[in-house]
């Protein structure tokens, strides 16, 4: 039985988080020595499924079998013991240790309780040779380029003799050549009988590498089929083919002159030669996969990070985008992607958060005028429907949706000409989401130029007047209103029809 059983069989997997159903009845079967690709949009459930396999989450329903044997994976350590190796997108290496030490970090060979350095190095060398990875075991990991660190990470997973290895977006930061080196390593692991689960947004790689493809959409299995003869177009169709269940109201407003103009914005390796423009009253979507450089471009326009070259102008006046202060003074506001990290000051009150970016409006000679401050904060909190609008309350006692409204209020207090929204409705409940959409529409009607990043394609499509799509740091398409999800996905995966 065990000889013919698949390496992994997950059946009927469902996972619910409070208020959200992340996975519904998903099956996944991966054979011995098979490369199995999982594709899907951001938020389709790929990561959740892999975290269940890795023991990070427990499934709400469903069973997992390894080599035909039903198991319950109690945690990440248990997963590793059962022969499941994970290689995540973010590398988990110790930069100050050597390649050999990193590879054997989980279980270094030891003698009398002391690390046996000779055996450690030999074991690492053995692993690297088996994988055909050209990395020197004595080099410090921190001194290696990312592509080689990636190989070390894989070698580290391989060193624990896994039966299954999960590679989550392993090529997202690699060039074409570097990716080829990685593929050779994957071929070797496959030949050694390891089952490989490969998650990638690069559909060409999937076609090149995979034996089978599973497509997820909205937490459900859409199709699992042989990769034989599959095309990028087939996969894209399967990834997006969904009925629009959410309705996003779109207000039609007259569109004015160009307000924000970005030309040739470049930071080598992150985004290159990005040109954008946004007109008064226009809502422009910035689409693309996570990691395509959307947030990085937005932060550089605002001045939170620096670009190496390129120009930003607002209403024709050049902006020296070197600090958020310069961005704010030029009339740019940025509602960040990570609200907890970049949006809110948790221990301060609603009032203090709302007025944080406009010290000049609430103070004279550096002293806060409390009446003026309170008036401004109440006005903004009420306008945006922060509920209850108690401005002296600490902002971290409010729910996610209200917190996001407070962040909006802070930026509206700066009276921006350009509002950049990075995932403005992430992690907020349905009611607050609809409030935020109305706020965006209202701002556009008042002539604000809006650049919106969202990973939710239906949202981008419904709200935007125009859409730029980023693929690996470059604008791969500019699409008019009325573009389909398929058009966007094609551009986002770099599969632009000539």
């Amino acid at each position: 039985m065990t000889e013919t059983a698949p390496a992994l069989s997950m059946r009927g997997i469902s996972k619910s988080f409070p208020g959200i159903r992340a996975l519904t009845d998903v099956d996944l079967e991966v054979g011995v020595g098979e490369v199995h690709a999982i594709v899907g949009e951001n938020g389709a459930g790929k990561s959740t499924l892999m975290k269940i396999l890795a023991g990070v989450y427990q499934p709400t329903e469903g069973t997992i079998e390894l080599q035909g044997e039903a198991v319950r994976i109690s945690g990440p350590i248990d997963a590793r013991k059962r022969g499941i190796g994970m290689v995540y997108q973010e590398l988990n290496l110790v930069p100050d240790l050597s390649v050999a030490e990193n590879i054997t970090l989980g279980a270094p060979p030891s003698k009398f309780g002391l690390v046996d350095r000779k055996a450690l190095r030999a074991r690492a060398q053995e692993v690297l040779t088996e994988l055909g990875a050209r990395v020197q075991p004595d080099d410090l990991v921190g001194s290696l380029p990312v592509s080689q660190q990636q190989l070390v990470e894989i070698a580290k997973a391989y060193a624990s003799n896994p039966r299954i290895i999960v590679l989550d977006e392993p090529t997202s930061s690699l060039s074409e050549n570097e990716a080829q080196a990685l593929f050779r390593v994957i071929e070797r692991m496959k030949a050694a009988g390891i089952a490989i689960i490969y998650i990638s947004h690069r559909l060409r790689e999937v076609i090149e590498l995979a034996d089978r493809v599973t497509v997820l959409r909205d937490g459900r299995l859409v199709e699992s089929r042989s990769a034989e003869g599959i095309t990028a177009g087939d996969m894209i169709r399967l990834m997006v083919g969904r009925e629009l269940t959410d309705v996003f109201p779109k207000r039609e407003v007259p569109i004015g002159d160009v307000v924000l103009k970005v030309e040739g914005l470049t930071r080598p390796g992150t985004f290159e030669d990005v040109d954008l423009e946004v007109r008064a009253g226009e809502i422009v979507g910035l689409a693309g996969f996570v990691g395509a450089g959307r947030t990085e471009v937005a932060r550089a326009i605002f001045g939170l990070d620096r670009a190496a070259s390129g120009t930003v102008t607002v209403d024709g006046a050049p902006v020296e985008a070197t600090s958020p202060r310069k961005g704010v003074d030029a009339g740019i506001a940025y509602v960040p992607e990570d609200r907890k990290r970049d949006g809110l000051v948790p221990q301060l009150t609603v009032k203090d958060n709302v007025t944080l970016a406009v010290p000049g409006d609430i103070a004279r000679l550096g002293w806060i005028r409390r009446g003026v401050e309170r008036k401004l904060a109440s006005e903004k909190a009420t306008e945006l429907g922060v509920s209850p609008p108690v401005i002296d309350r600490r902002v971290d006692t409010y729910s996610g949706g209200n917190q996001q409204k407070v962040v909006f209020a802070k930026w509206l207090a700066t009276q921006p000409r350009v509002l950049i929204l990075d995932e403005p409705t992430r992690g907020v409940d349905v009611g607050a989401k609809s409030d935020i959409h109305r706020i965006i529409g209202e701002l556009a009607a008042q002539g604000t130029a809006i650049l919106m990043i969202s990973s939710e394609l239906p949202e981008v499509l419904a709200v935007s007047d125009r859409i730029y799509v980023l693929h690996e740091g470059r604008v791969s398409a500019e699409l008019p209103r009325g573009a389909s999800e398929q058009d966007v996905m094609q551009a986002a995966t770099g599969e632009v029809a000539a």
Binding site: P324, A357, G366, D396
Partner: protein, 330 residues
């Protein structure tokens, strides 16, 4: 720009527990009250105007430093360990220069040189991003070394008994001048922290530096500012100490950093930044001073006194962590 939104959101505010809401505010006044009662029981001399005035005089010099140290704590700058050096700079310079340029100009020079040490701290910590504890430990050691080389390890004596008489005297024969100076500094510090833009930024930086920076606040300047302020105030304390003793040696400031940190921590100002206030820190100082006073009146030797202070710090930090956890934050 006005927007009218009819809210459909059903979000509710998260409820806060009574303890995490009022516990930290009420604990200190209650603690001080308790000490007053206990002290009165234990000693006849404790609850007298004379004794309590002495407690106030004793806490004034370190109290001025506590004001600066509170800014450091609130901005998540951990602590300033260069205080003994900047106190010495103030004390030595004022006494070395008083017969050359006069006491008050000499005082100004002392405070300014201490402030320069603070600027160096601020540049290294705020702008270069070095660890505050290590940086101030190093800069303090260096500055103290310079001071020692300067005076050759001997005691510097003052030449202006008039200034001493003024500082140690009493206004209208009642209020000790030194206490008055401390209260003015504390009031100004309190206003700056609670009512100025800089103070608001100090809280914001300590609570979440990333979001604060993204809100166009000059985060590095704010971090640096707390250390400049602490060094300036420590230099000022040193000047007052030098004048009132009319003698100063390089070790004159030893222990002030520890006493100031103790006061701030016992006052419930979080080492993790973002909360606390000058009144709370001074409440902490008063608590420690009263406790020490009671121990002294009871004839407890100084070694056990140190143990009690150490235990107080550990207890206060543990309570802070506990309350934060209860508050629901990681």
């Amino acid at each position: 720009m006005t927007i009218n939104i009819e809210t459909v959101s059903t979000d509710r505010v998260v409820k806060q527990g009574f303890l995490s809401r009022y516990g930290t505010t009420l604990a200190m006044p209650l603690g001080i009250l308790m000490l007053l009662v206990v002290g009165a029981f234990l000693s006849d001399r404790f609850l007298t105007i004379g004794n309590l005035t002495n407690v106030l005089i004793n806490m004034s010099i370190v109290g001025i430093i506590v004001v600066g140290m509170t800014f450091v704590f609130v901005s998540r700058g951990m602590a300033d360990l260069s205080v003994p050096a900047t106190v010495a700079v103030g004390g030595i310079l004022v006494l070395m220069l008083d017969d050359v340029i006069g006491t008050w100009p000499a005082a100004l020079v002392g405070v300014l040189i201490a402030a320069i040490a603070g600027v160096v701290n601020g540049l290294l910590i705020g702008y270069a991003g070095l660890n505050p504890v290590i940086t101030t430990l190093a800069s303090g050691t260096i500055v103290l070394g310079i001071a020692q080389a300067f005076v050759g390890g001997v005691i510097v004596y003052g030449q202006d008994p008039g200034a001493k008489e003024f500082l140690t005297g009493r206004l209208f024969g009642v209020v000790p001048v030194i206490v008055l100076i401390f209260l003015i500094v504390a009031l100004l510090g309190h206003l700056a922290l609670s009512r100025s833009v800089f103070g608001r930024w100090t809280y914001a930086v300590g609570s979440n530096p990333h979001a604060t920076e993204a809100s166009a606040v000059p985060v590095r300047l704010v971090k640096a500012g707390a250390f400049v302020m602490t060094a300036t105030l420590a230099g000022f304390s040193g000047v007052l100490l030098g004048i009132s003793l009319q003698a100063a040696r390089p070790a004159i400031g030893a222990g002030y950093e520890f006493d100031a940190i103790t006061a701030v921590v016992v006052g419930g100002v979080s080492l993790l930044g973002g909360s606390g206030s000058i009144p709370r820190a001074i409440g902490g100082l008063l608590f420690v001073q009263l406790l020490t006073n009671i121990l002294v009146l009871q004839g407890v030797p100084s070694e056990p006194q140190g143990m009690v202070k150490g235990a107080l710090i550990a207890g206060a930090v543990a309570l802070d962590v506990y309350l934060r956890r209860r508050g629901g934050r990681e």
